[in-house]
Symmetry: C2
Subunit: 181 residues, 2 copies
DNA sequence: GCCGGTTGTGCAACTAGTTGCAAAAAGGCT
DNA sequence: AGCCTTTTTGCAACTAGTTGCACAACCGGC
């Protein structure tokens, strides 16, 4: 039940059309909660039907026409409610770790290359986060909103750092393993 | 498409009934790929229909009767194929980080308590992993299977370590924030 | 010998997320 | 004006995961 709240957050940060939201879910918010444009359009429809958001009037509404949405008071209230409510951490599901478990049983052939590829991807993501940090969070700014957002970005940075380190370690381990069958 | 392969891996490690699998998905494999018993039973049916696993004969099959499954050669081949195939890392989705983004907009009321709760949960999980490490991976054992499984466990340990550190840092940050509204 | 809890299996209906495709509008080209 | 491409929105059908419940067997106590 997080997608609607991700959208409410994004719209509160800045009212947007479906496509603009889609773009923003490819970065920023999307780094922590990814979504495709179909999910977004469908959810926008639901949220509007529930009275949590509305389209900004302005232009005539027609197919292929930009519709900009903004959050209504009820939407903000719902987001505040959800934010304050306790939630259990979601169960982990990581295909890569699963694959290594499988490789322990059926052999490691082919895995190493993909580990290298993943390492490269995580390095890239880490570099991107670091760039954002430099751009958006210079040392002097510390309004509460900035500190919270910086905290979230920090989690991203530290997670990518973990993956690059772990993958490096894993590849070193593979180098010491007998040949894959 | 990972659940069937998680099950194949578990069954190769040890042939089991549906319930035994369910129990093992509450620990071990389940730490990296969680699944409910309904998912498991359904998938066992599919895998059997596809000829990747079969029930061990032995007892008479009846409702409420333990059925033990084992992996057939086709199943092992499919698992090897999947293990070797390249896969993209899955997009991140973390409700907690999303909540902090939302909190930056609608206020931090109520979040802090839940952060503390999460910290406690992650600490517990970390302690459990460490115990497993001590029990299953004494310093001298280093068969390739053990090294791979240890590597996976290490990822779990490092991830939980990251979360406890990050949550600790987050709570410290909260302490320095103006009062939540 | 049957009664009630536990064990083991499973169906049905639901929510969440993905994939493939298409249609309306806008803008450029000639 | 007519055509082509890109932008923006959206439907439909699918796969994956969750929730709630049901039903049979088995196991103990009385």
């Amino acid at each position: 039940m997080s997608l609607p709240h991700a959208i409410l957050t994004a719209l509160l940060e800045k009212p947007s059309s479906g496509l603009e939201l889609t773009r923003r879910f490819d970065k920023s918010i999307g780094y922590f909660w990814s979504a495709t444009h179909q999910q977004i359009y469908r959810e926008l429809g639901k949220l509007e039907a529930e009275g949590l958001i509305r389209t900004l009037p302005a232009e005539q509404p027609a197919r292929g026409q930009k519709k900009r949405y903004e959050v209504l008071p009820a939407g903000r209230a719902e987001l505040a409610r959800w934010t304050a409510a306790a939630q259990d951490p979601r169960a982990m599901r990581d295909p890569l770790l699963l694959r290594l478990r499988a490789a322990a049983v059926v052999g490691t052939a082919g895995v190493e290359d993909d580990l290298r590829r993943h390492l490269e991807l995580h390095r890239r993501q880490l570099a991107e986060y670091r760039q954002i940090e430099q751009r958006d969070f210079p040392p002097d700014r510390d309004a509460p909103q900035d500190r919270l957002r910086h905290l979230v970005l920090r989690a991203g940075i530290d997670l990518e750092t973990f993956w690059t380190q772990w993958l490096t370690h894993a590849l070193a381990e593979f180098a010491g393993l007998p040949d894959a069958d």
